[in-house]
Symmetry: C2
Subunit: 229 residues, 2 copies
């Protein structure tokens, strides 16, 4: 049986991989964390289809990896399978969700309400995944006409207060490249610990802050390399 697929995760996930250092906890490789998210989504689909248990072979196939890799990934934080049978779908889901820290709803803010920022605001895909964009900020906070945006769009000046009051730990950064580093610094000062960066620059952040980059142009460029004949 072949498990090969050309599918690969989103763009940035493989570039710079600082070691995962969690004081007192077992180190889980960065790539494993990404795969855990994928397993979680596959498990959700299996549950919808009424399956109670799943083997590593079946789940691995759904996730596009090899069964041994799946088992090694899970071994990083416990053993929950039943030999001869497989994994309990519900139990495995909740253990992975616990491990990822997504078992509770995370408030997220968005900074930079331009073209892309606006699109992300109106995108409803986050909610059912445990995240909610609760507000947006922009240097020029005018509400766009003709758009059904549920979230308030606020000025940058009220951002520190808002972050503190709502305990915001994660931000989506969709400002233009030239101001991205400056805004990121501002976010870090306010206590934000995770930044999802859409600006096409390499952010420099303190060691205890995590910045993930999503760069659509780089994704396309990557494709264009592989499709050359």
């Amino acid at each position: 049986m072949k498990y090969f697929t050309n599918a690969c995760p989103a763009p940035g996930a493989g570039l710079i991989l600082p070691r995962v250092k969690k004081s007192g906890r077992i180190i889980i490789p960065r790539k494993t964390i990404y795969r855990l998210s994928i397993y979680l989504r596959c498990l959700a689909r299996l549950k919808e289809n009424g399956l109670d248990t799943v083997s590593s072979e079946a789940l691995a196939k759904a996730a596009g990896v090899k069964p041994t890799q799946l088992r090694k990934d899970l071994a990083c934080f416990g053993t929950f399978g039943t030999r001869g049978l497989g994994y309990d779908v519900t139990e495995l889901s909740s253990r992975i969700a616990d491990e990822l820290g997504t078992s509770r709803l995370q408030p997220v803010i968005l900074v930079g309400v331009g073209n892309l920022g606006l699109a992300l605001l109106s995108y409803r895909g986050f909610e059912k995944e445990g995240f909610e964009i609760i507000a947006a900020f922009d240097a020029n906070p005018r509400r766009p006409r003709n758009k059904q945006i549920a979230q308030p769009i606020l000025g940058m000046d009220v951002m520190p207060k808002f972050i503190a009051e709502h305990g915001v730990k994660m931000a989506i950064l969709s400002v233009p490249a030239p101001s991205a580093q400056e805004v990121a610094n501002h976010l870090v000062e306010c206590g934000v610990a995770g930044i999802l960066n859409f600006a096409p620059i390499v952010l420099t952040v303190p060691e205890d802050v995590m910045a993930n980059n999503v760069n659509l142009a780089i994704e396309l460029e990557n494709l264009s390399y592989f499709i050359r004949e």
Copy 2:
């Protein structure tokens, strides 16, 4: 000097890494390809700032990697530096662009004009990176009110003809998850060789087709893991 940064590339980039098999050409690791894209963007910024030459140390710092890694990456496809001086910014840019296949403009189509698809259509960031979304397709191709979309929005039925006529090799897939695999199959049949998939499922595609995934929820989930205290 420290080069450490928590910045990392977009989500999917590191999960499943099939070996790069290019008949007759030297194998370049997938991660190297991603970094080449980053170097290219850093070089563009350096050129804007009027620099003619750059050392591996300076460029690596800008890209958030170590100098040795940058040199090893470049060594995959030639030697262009001048010892004691560094690299010629313009020459290195064009060599990398050649290698990535972005020296010429690539026509791209978008399939699935929902919330996210619409956002990507109105996003102007691709053009200056060598890509142009020349048309969009949707099962229900109505033109959105109140939106300045330059591209035609066409029905799925005319897609095969369009792809053939315009020599389209790359597609952005932003349809809902349940229909993503089916549409992907359709694209592959039409001759599309590279798919940038925004649907939250693992696409199965033939070996000679490349599918890169961008999953914003997974990116957020990844952040949430690292910011747990």
